[in-house]
């Protein structure tokens, strides 16, 4: 970009050719007032407040608008001559005579030395700066609003002055409107989602949550204007390091490794289908994860325990085993709920004066110091009731005690109870990720009926899997708490390390071989191998087994119609001999 030398109010500056005078003045710290300029949209030059005097090399002086007058070699810009100031003043006075005395105008009037605008002020809220129209068109790309009519009748509206589908509700126009003339309104009766569910700020570009790794912002294409309309990209233009790219696409990178630790974790059980708990139906019935989020100092309530109406709860019920130890959901124990439920009770006691009710089936405080913690909770005055929460119902609006009623059978007191509370926390089960089977297949391991990955041996191989070099860590194998997870993770890491240090893998003697002399290359076996150990040699036109990948299941040997595949140690003739032997 060629540079040009110019002066603004006598001060020299070198700028890119074609850049605008306003930018040059800004660089020099010289303020030029404007009502319609915004640096991310094209200059519009409609308000004519930013007028300055420009003197070109030939000495010709004229009034130009600074926002879109291109810098050229040798021009002299004067921003505060009497002619300029008079024009600005008169223009503003004329505008004010039409518009309401809004701060954006009165502030500017004060700056320009207008005490009393000569034609007074009007009532219009719109100054016709066009920022909204331009941001909607140029940045958002929605073109949902525009000018209608012309001359003094001109006004901003949606097409045909009706609610427009073109509007994507981004709010950019309202955000940019200098007078507040444009407002966002709730147009339909959309459900308000409990704000605790999201883990981070709800912006299109944000760090997903505080502890995110890597701790860097990412663009959420669902919210980002660019991915909805193709426009905007303002973030990219403000990033000084030019880190933001909207053109990046998902790509797969191959990494060659010798060993893998699977730590894919779990997913939270969704209690919505269990209508009796009222989740998603009744207010202030939340899951443990949502409660945890609320307690986080970085959460939306700043760590305060609050009801949806913003008030502090007076009583909270914590229901254990929602989805765990339940024939209708998961038969297993999720192992962590008891202890975190106790922790919740402790937090509630610490932060509020609310009553806490723990509704449990059995309290499984099996770890080191766990039982002691339970006793501490009891001492803190938490009501611990043995009996699974049966139902949560609304108490009706006028109820004095609380808005929700929890019903349960107190099996120790042998009586049916109804407990009025403000908030119910559901300790939802840990369940296997819905894609656990796909992951297992990818790594050649198995999943149990519950969806957890199966270890090689429940006692002797709790970390390794039936596939050499693949190790398990954490809840993906089965529910476990943090200490157990750390222990298993360390074990998995150690296993992996030992393989890596050795640098080689010991192989089993049992594997399949294909007799090159017999194989005719029919390729019937190729897709049989779940480990993709069988490859086809296009030049030799025969298939062959990679013994390092082969796990000796023998399926290929059974499937070879030519008898070319021999499953070592389980060869056809060996099995025939066995058959003959046992039947003789």
């Amino acid at each position: 970009m060629p540079k040009v030398n110019m002066t603004v109010d006598g001060r020299p500056i070198t700028v890119d050719e074609g850049s605008y005078v306003l930018q040059a003045a800004e660089a020099l710290g010289i303020e030029i007032p404007t009502l319609c300029f915004f640096k991310y949209v094209k200059p519009y030059a409609a308000c004519r407040i930013c007028v300055v005097e420009a003197k070109n090399k030939r000495g010709r002086t004229r009034i130009v608008t600074a926002c879109n007058y291109p810098a050229s070699e040798g021009i002299e810009i004067l921003t505060r001559t009497p002619r300029v100031m008079a024009a600005r003043k008169l223009n503003l006075e004329m505008l004010m005579s039409r518009c309401a005395p809004m701060p954006v105008l009165t502030d500017l009037a004060r700056k320009l030395g207008i005490d009393q605008p000569r034609w007074g002020t009007g009532t219009d809220m719109c100054i016709l700066c066009g920022l909204c129209v331009r941001v909607c068109d140029e940045i958002v790309g929605a073109q949902a609003i525009g000018f209608a009519s012309r001359g003094i009748e001109r006004f901003v509206t949606t097409p045909f002055e009706v609610d427009s589908d073109a509007c994507i509700l981004c709010g950019a126009c309202a955000a940019l409107c200098p007078t507040g003339h444009i407002r966002m309104e709730e147009a339909s009766d959309r459900e308000v989602v409990h704000s605790e569910i999201t883990l981070g700020p709800n912006a299109a570009i944000s760090v997903p949550f505080r502890q995110a790794v890597p701790n860097a912002p990412r663009i959420d294409p669902e919210f980002c204007v660019h991915f909805r309309t193709g426009g905007c990209k303002v973030c990219a233009s403000v990033c000084p390091k030019e880190c933001i790219s909207h053109d990046d696409v998902e790509r797969f990178e191959e990494v060659e490794v010798g060993t893998v630790v699977l730590a894919t974790g779990y997913q939270d059980f969704d209690p919505t289908p269990f209508k009796q708990y009222g989740y998603g139906r009744l207010p202030n019935v939340i899951t443990s994860m949502e409660f945890e989020r609320m307690n986080n100092a970085a959460g939306s309530t700043g760590g305060k325990i609050l009801l949806e109406n913003g008030k502090e709860p007076r009583a909270i019920a914590i229901l254990h085993c929602i989805g765990s130890r339940d024939e209708n959901a998961h038969p297993y124990c999720s192992r962590v709920c008891c202890m975190y439920a106790l922790k919740f009770a402790h937090l509630v006691k610490e932060k509020t004066s609310a009553e806490v009710y723990q509704l449990y089936i059995d309290l499984r405080a099996f770890g080191k110091g766990y039982e002691e913690f339970f006793h501490r909770i009891l001492e803190e005055g938490v009501n611990v009731i043995r009996g699974k929460g049966a139902e949560v119902v609304s108490a009706g609006r006028d109820c004095q005690e609380g808005s929700l009623i929890v019903r349960c059978e107190d099996t120790l007191a042998a009586k049916f109870r109804e407990i009025p509370v403000d908030m119910v926390v559901l300790c939802t089960a840990l369940e296997a990720n819905r894609d656990a089977k796909d992951v297992a297949r990818r790594f050649g391991i198995s999943v149990g009926a519950d969806g957890w990955f199966i270890e090689r041996h429940p006692k002797l191989g709790p970390v390794s899997t039936t596939t050499d070099g693949i190790f398990l860590a954490g809840v993906c194998q089965s529910p476990k708490d943090i200490p157990d997870t750390v222990a298993q993770g360390s074990g998995a890491a150690a296993h992996a390390m030992s393989l890596m240090i050795r640098g080689e893998v010991e192989m089993d003697g049992a594997y399949a071989v294909i007799d090159d002399e017999v194989c005719s290359g029919c390729r019937l076996c190729n897709d049989l191998c779940p480990y993709s150990a069988i490859g086809f040699d296009e030049t030799k036109k025969t298939s062959s087994v990679n013994p390092a990948l082969c796990k000796a299941c023998g399926t290929c040997a059974a499937g070879c119609p030519s008898g070319a595949i021999r499953a070592l140690h389980f060869a056809d003739d060996q099995i025939y001999a066995e058959i003959e032997g046992i039947l003789s």
């Binding site: 200059p43 030059a45 409609a46 308000c47 004519r48 407040i49 007028v51 009034i63 130009v64 608008t65 879109n68 007058y69 291109p70 002619r83 008079a86 024009a87 008169l90 223009n91 004329m94 505008l95 005579s97 039409r98 034609w119 016709l128 066009g130 525009g146 000018f147 009519s149 012309r150 001359g151 003094i152 009748e153 001109r154």
Partner: protein, 669 residues
């Protein structure tokens, strides 16, 4: 029709067409321009056809419907060729006489000839009529002679020979050089040198380039471009092709008002014919040069005559102007180099190419070459389209060609350049008033000319006088026009036409209008004059486009030449021309003959008196509609300052005498 693939073939065609022209045949060139259409020329044409048919003269007598002959005031018009007899105000009933006498027996029908009011003689030939005598018709040379829907007619009249010359014998640079040397200036109003514009556009780096014809003629009272497009569309097309060839463009557009249906029709026919003949298309006249023209119809916004707004409109966007700090010749239509000229400019191009720059430059003044077409309207006898050489004086246009003001009224002013142009004083002002204004410092000494009637009409002179050439509208005003009201009227027009994008134009025009309206209502304050000037300056300084930038011209020029009228309104609450309703009162003087015409037209029944008696206006009922003033043939109704109307009326009552008595008294005297 077979496409023409070489200039020679074009010449051959022309020769064939001319050879086919039988000198013994008769051609009736009947004007079918919009003016004559309005004067009912269609029944005349139908009657001609019928008569020709009835007399069995088909094939010997040809009726040709041509474009505007210019003398709209006298329509319907026809010229009988080859004799060149000019008939005017023809009605269907006259056809029989024309055919029987003139065509069959060569006798002139005298009553249809133009009668010169000065010499009181009938004139047979058009070129002898004063209206035509002082004109130099170049752009309009073929208007009135050719059938605009026939490309053969145009070719037979020498059309497209300039194109052939340009494509075969001239390099693009040569053409630009020729145009530059001709010193042709844009006829759209600004007067920018055409050659220089073309050169910049040619040198602009980006491709493709566009050539555009601005036919968005929006000025009230202007119809030059329309007449050219209607009467001779091929001249514009030819000019555009030459321009495109010179600039290096392959795509052109004509942006024409939707309100010009006939122009659009003739232009479209002409384009189709040109395409069919290979004069537009991929290989024009076998030269390898490709060019074509599209037609885009404007929605009638005045601002779309502004080049950037026009281009925005062409692009399909809202027709709003943008800043021209970067010129459209570099970044115009679709951000590509675009050369825009108006209809008349394009129509001049073939002339320059055909006859040479030197010939063209020999016409006109030092700064302005060639001719200019004006639409002469308003209070003038010979309303119509006139083409005059640059440098002709206003007096020649108004008196010699225009025939002066009708009735016994006096010239007052002429408005040129459309609503953004200026109003020029042409009447002889009271020297005493002028001197007192000069003394008071209200006008500068140089302005105290008594009249601008002898002002030579060219770009620079008009600008210097506070008006502008504009596209050629020329509205004549007589003594009955109030200059403050005229200014108010034009500002109101511009308020309606301002796009509203930039603040000064949108808000400033409104403010100007508010003030002017106040003045015309007698509520003006002395400081209003200053405010008007202040707003005008800001408008000129800070408007985004020339619509706003030139909008104060009506105010400033009237302030300059008719300051006394403003003062009369503000200081004396009086409208000297008697136009401003709020200030004027109507009274009937003793001249009343009692024919009661006025009482019949009065919408409020304010006039009473009975037949053959003095008519009296009831001031409480009068709404100053001016209807009575318009109908009184005895100038008995006067427009006076409102508060004096009752007095005048009272005086009349005292002095009025019945007509009979008056005649007797006169007889006695």
């Amino acid at each position: 029709m077979r496409p023409i693939v070489s200039p020679k073939e074009l010449n051959d065609l022309r020769d064939r067409l001319r050879a086919a022209h039988d000198p013994n045949h008769t051609w009736v060139q009947l004007c079918a321009g919009t003016g004559c259409l309005a004067c009912n020329c269609e029944p005349v044409a139908a009657a001609f056809r019928q008569k020709i048919h009835d007399e069995g003269l088909e094939g010997v007598v040809h009726l040709k419907l041509t474009g505007c002959h210019g003398f709209c005031e006298r329509g319907p018009l026809a010229v009988i060729q080859p004799q060149g007899i000019f008939y005017q105000r023809i009605s269907p009933d006259d056809i029989e006489a024309i055919i029987d006498q003139t065509i069959k027996h060569g006798k002139v029908v005298t009553k249809l000839l133009y009668r010169d009011p000065a010499s009181k003689t009938r004139i047979e030939k058009a070129e002898d009529i004063p209206f035509y005598k002082k004109q130099v018709r170049l752009v309009l040379r073929s208007n009135g002679h050719i059938d605009p829907t026939s490309i053969e007619d145009y070719i037979a009249f020498g059309g497209y020979s300039a194109l052939a010359k340009a494509l075969t014998t001239m390099e693009p640079e040569r053409i630009i050089d020729e145009i530059k040397r001709s010193r042709l200036r844009g006829r759209g109003g600004g007067g920018f040198p055409t050659g220089a514009k073309w050169e910049t556009c040619r040198n602009a780096k980006e491709e493709p380039k566009y050539v555009i014809c601005n036919a968005d003629e929006g000025d009230p009272g202007a119809f030059m471009d329309r007449s050219v497009l209607e009467g001779n569309p091929h001249s514009v097309i030819e000019g555009m092709i030459i321009g495109a060839y010179a600039i290096g463009s392959h795509e052109g557009y004509v942006y024409v008002r939707h309100e010009y249906p006939l122009a659009v029709k003739h232009l479209t026919i002409a384009l189709d014919q040109a395409r069919e003949l290979g004069l537009l298309g991929p290989n024009i006249l076998g030269s390898g040069f490709a060019f074509d023209i599209g037609v885009s119809r404007g929605g009638g916004a005045f601002v779309c005559g502004e080049s950037t707004a026009l281009m925005a409109s062409l692009e399909g966007k809202v027709g709003e102007p943008r800043a021209k700090y970067v010129h459209t010749v570099e970044h115009g239509l679709w951000d590509k180099p675009s050369n825009l000229n108006n209809v008349e400019t394009w129509a001049n191009v073939p002339l320059v190419i055909e006859h040479g720059a030197d010939w063209f430059a020999s016409i006109g003044t030092e700064g302005s070459k060639g001719t200019k077409v004006f639409a002469l309207t308003g209070k003038i006898c010979n309303t119509g389209l006139v083409e005059v050489p640059m440098g002709i004086t206003l007096r020649e246009i108004l008196h010699d060609i225009g025939g002066g003001v009708p009735g016994k009224k006096k010239f007052k002013a002429v408005q040129t350049g459309g609503p953004s142009g200026g109003t020029l004083i042409v009447e002889t002002r009271d020297a005493k008033i002028m001197r007192s204004m000069e003394d008071a410092g209200e006008i500068s000494p140089g302005d105290a000319v008594t009249s601008l009637l002898d002002l030579p009409v060219d770009f620079d002179e008009l600008t210097q006088a506070g008006s502008m050439m504009g596209s050629g509208g020329m509205i004549v005003m007589d003594q009955d026009s109030c200059m403050v009201d005229v200014a108010r009227y034009f500002i109101h027009f511009l308020i309606e036409e301002s796009c509203g994008k930039c603040l000064p134009c949108r808000e400033g025009l409104r403010k100007l209008h508010e003030i002017l309206e106040r003045i015309t209502k007698g509520q003006g304050a002395p400081e209003d004059i200053l405010t008007l000037q202040e707003i005008s300056e800001t408008l000129i300084d800070t408007s985004l486009c020339q619509l706003g930038g030139s909008a104060p011209n009506p105010v400033l020029s009237t302030l300059r030449y008719f300051r006394d009228e403003y003062d009369a309104h503000i200081r004396d609450k009086r409208c000297p021309a008697g136009v401003c309703r709020e200030l004027v009162g109507y009274a009937i003087t003793e001249d009343c003959v009692g024919d009661a015409k006025c009482a019949k037209v009065c919408p409020t029944g304010a006039i009473t008196g009975g037949p053959r008696n003095l008519q009296v206006i009831d001031q409480s009922k009068c709404i100053q509609c001016d209807a009575c003033y318009q109908v009184c043939t005895f100038n008995a109704i006067v427009r006076v300052k409102r508060d004096r109307a009752a007095d005048v009326q009272t005086t009349a009552r005292q002095t009025w005498k019945p007509v009979k008595e008056r005649t007797q008294a006169e007889a006695r005297a």
